[in-house]
Amino acid sequence: MAEATRRPPFLTRSRFTNSGRKLIYLIGGLIFALLAALILYPSLNLVLNSFLADGRLSLANYADFLTDTSTYVVLYNSLFVSLLGTLGATALGLFIAWLIARTDVPFKSFWRAIVIVPYLIPPFIGAIAWSYLLGPVGYINKLYMALSGNSDPLFVIYGKWGIILVMILYSYPIAYMISLGPLEKMNPTLEEAGRMSGAGILRVMRDISIPLVGPSIWGGALLIFMSLMANFGIPAVLGFPARFFVLTTKIYLTILNFDKANNLQVAAALSMTLVVVAVIAMQIQRKVQQGRSYAILSGKESQPQLVQLGKLKYAALGFLTIVFIVTVLAPLLAILLTSLTRATGVPLTWENLSLRHYEDLIFNVPKVRRALINSTLLAVLSATTIVFISMVISYLLIRIKIRGGQMIETLILLPYAIPGTIVALAMILAFLKPLPIINYSLYNTFWILYVAYLTRFLTFGVRSINAAFEQLHVSLEEAARISGADVVTTFKDIVVPLVRTNVFAGWFLAFMPAFTELTLSILLFSVNNETLGVVVFGLHQEGKVNLTAALALLIIIIVLILNIVTRRVTRGRLGF
């Protein structure tokens, strides 16, 4: 690096002594170099590769997929399932949030705890569970066939409608969580006015409550849309058997098709379609958040009067119960039963129940043990690194207000905003060949997974700690500085303790998705470096139904316990 040939580009205030400024300059430079190596370089390299055919600059890869009619089919499929999934999830999440925040539906605290649970179940495991329920010979279909005497199943979950259904069931909590806060803080007099003017409950909800929380809903819907466009697990589990493909699964297959010339480069070009969609969605979200303020919301801590449901109370209760059964109880039961069935195809009787698959899992499938260790290590290591890097980045962004902060924030958001399949592809393209100088290839190692997780979930840490700095007044740090503390001491003794809660929040937010990660891992894992997601998916693809179910249940239990422990210990500040 060219040292101090120019003025430090990101220092705008002269609050610091010379040595302090140099230190910040150094740390900032190191962080930026890290971001450049791990995010900027793979991104630019991906774009470059999309224009490379046989090592020469060309538009051949674009021509390849643009002239292939199946590209348009998968693009349409992606948009179709994501849009309908978003619509359904937003409507469901919003309705549940409204019931809980604004009505007098009974057992609220119970529902508050329950409706979040689907968010904790990895979507691909949800999809696998639903294939046990509504596959051609799933429990529900078998029950239906037995009761009706019909030999055709009621509804087969494979294909687009099944994908949409499962997408709705496992993403509605996002809409719920985002709209719950605003709904609770909403000025109740508006609703009361509506009721007094003779409007029905649903009308009040539709015409008053919902429009008032509009901006949040839009933000949530976009978030859901982006996550569904990027989702790999659900269309992989439920789409492959019906030969129904979306962009992520098509890119995945293209990456694996080494018989095709320039397959990685064609996949890179194909990825650009998803990047464009993701960037547009990011821009819309920014516009929505900037353009509309929450001015209609009342800031005062009023205890809003709740909508009296009257007799509809029972309907609401029934509805929430059904949601609970459909999203949590039935899939878990299906997984449990499947994991306990002695062999596939045998009728469900007491004699046919056995624990042999759990025994198999623990003793006969060594990669399960390896995956448990790997996923734990990866999640702990990446989450820990993330919060350390984030503390420095946030300090530079919010406190020092370095120049180019906006750009750095965008750079950090990028690996999360674009689909994981593409992040993995970028990692392969960037790190397949041995690194220059040290002549070491990250590909096929534990570290490529670590790097991929690090970049993908970094935004959780930065956003979480940014929020802490934004809330804390700078005067505390200034007091320390005036009393003679240097930058390091100020950071260590004042800043770190004050942002600790958010540091843990950021750690938890990064740890949870990393622990059950599938999309990146499936393309980046290697022998001895399997992750839990990879092993579940592999067992499922191999047709080891009972074994898959046993491991899936184990993962769900671990995740739920982690969450409960976290909630208990932090008294509800962390966890869902």
Binding site: V74, F258, N364, L372, T376, Y443, V545, R571
Partner: protein, 345 residues
């Protein structure tokens, strides 16, 4: 200090988790005489073999050769080859031993001088036709593609490959994908050049609503659950499902079952040739051959045991893989198959 407590709890939990599952690699203290002439270290095996079968195989191998750790990458033949090719591009192949159902790809590797010529101990009584290319790769047991059926759903057993086109079972027939499974790829490559079948046969399968699963494992599993009534699948899986008590049986089609070569070979660049060779030697031991039979395979050593429910090979017709056609038309077979069965709808 709630947060500290939280951190502590979580660390303890994680520590317990790790302690619970970390297998401490205790090197068994064997007597010096035995240990000195046995190889040690680690080898990596890339295979399309059923994961649970190969795990048991490795466990049995370790009874005889305890010092060698075998790390396994398992996926469909298509993905195993994809991984190998990616590694070749990266300049470093991680595998020491490879074992999957694409003999044409083995021939490619041999042509690039990437395979080691090695005659495993005890393999001299195995017929020459199962040693390929000057012992660069060989057969350790035999697998056949057959027609299998769900005994609850099919009352009259099928007899021919063409039964898969029977409209009575429309939508309830299945087969593995030629893009993923090596056995399926060989089947397609052989059948499309056979005047009795051709791509027409595959169009008829398509008309009959055949469901294309990724691998044989998924096909066998779904046959057992009753999702499929009739399938093309590898014989040992049908046998092992039947032996587990699932309602599955298989037949030897009148046209012949396809013998699918599934060779095993050692890569030249292995850094532990002794361990790799010991692993392949093991494959021809009585212990390994019996284990194969237990898992439903037909062994390759003459006079060895025969799996329960296996037919008498001498009296039955076996088709051989059309390697010449496959070698010349590799890409076209794949792309036509993808057009017909893999294309997005």
């Amino acid at each position: 200090m709630k947060t500290m407590k939280y951190l502590l709890t979580l660390s303890i939990f994680i520590a317990l988790l790790l302690a619970g599952c970390a297998e401490v690699p205790v090197q068994e203290a064997t007597d010096a005489g035995e240990a000195s002439d046995q190889p040690t270290g680690t080898i990596t095996l890339y295979t399309s073999e059923s994961e649970d079968n190969v795990n048991k195989m490795v466990a049995d191998f370790n009874e005889q050769v305890p010092g060698v750790q075998v790390d396994i990458f398992r996926s469909g033949t298509g993905e195993v080859i994809a991984k190998l090719q990616a590694e070749m591009e990266a300049g470093e192949v991680q595998a020491d031993v490879i074992w999957f159902a694409d003999i044409d790809f083995f021939a490619n590797l041999a042509a690039q001088e990437m395979l080691m010529s090695y005659q495993p101990a005890g393999s001299d009584i195995v017929p020459d036709e199962y040693h390929y290319n000057n012992n660069q790769y060989q057969e350790v047991r035999l697998i056949f593609n057959v027609v299998a059926y769900n005994t609850n759903l099919v009352s009259e057993p099928p007899t021919s490959w063409k039964d898969l086109t029977n409209p009575e079972y429309a939508g309830k027939v299945g087969m593995p994908s030629a893009l993923y499974s090596g056995a399926a790829f060989n089947q397609v490559g052989t059948f499309v050049n056979n005047p009795e079948f051709g791509w027409d046969f595959y169009d008829q399968l398509n008309d009959n609503g055949i469901v294309v699963e990724q691998g044989n494992g998924a096909v066998a599993e779904k046959l057992a659950t009753g999702e499929f009534a009739l399938v093309q699948v590898v014989d040992f899986m049908a046998r092992s499902k039947k032996n587990e008590g699932s309602p599955v049986d298989h037949i030897w089609p009148v046209e012949g079952a396809l013998l699918v070569p599934t060779p095993i070979g050692i890569l030249n660049n292995t850094d532990n040739p002794e361990a790799a060779q010991a692993f392949i030697d093991y494959m021809y031991t009585d212990s390994a051959q019996s284990l194969f039979v237990e898992q439903g395979y037909i062994g390759v050593v003459p006079g060895g045991p025969i799996p329960e429910g296996a037919p008498d090979l001498d009296s039955l017709k076996a088709l051989t893989v059309d390697t010449e056609y496959i070698s010349a038309n590799r890409d076209e077979i794949r792309s036509t198959f993808e057009e017909k069965f893999g294309a997005p709808q």
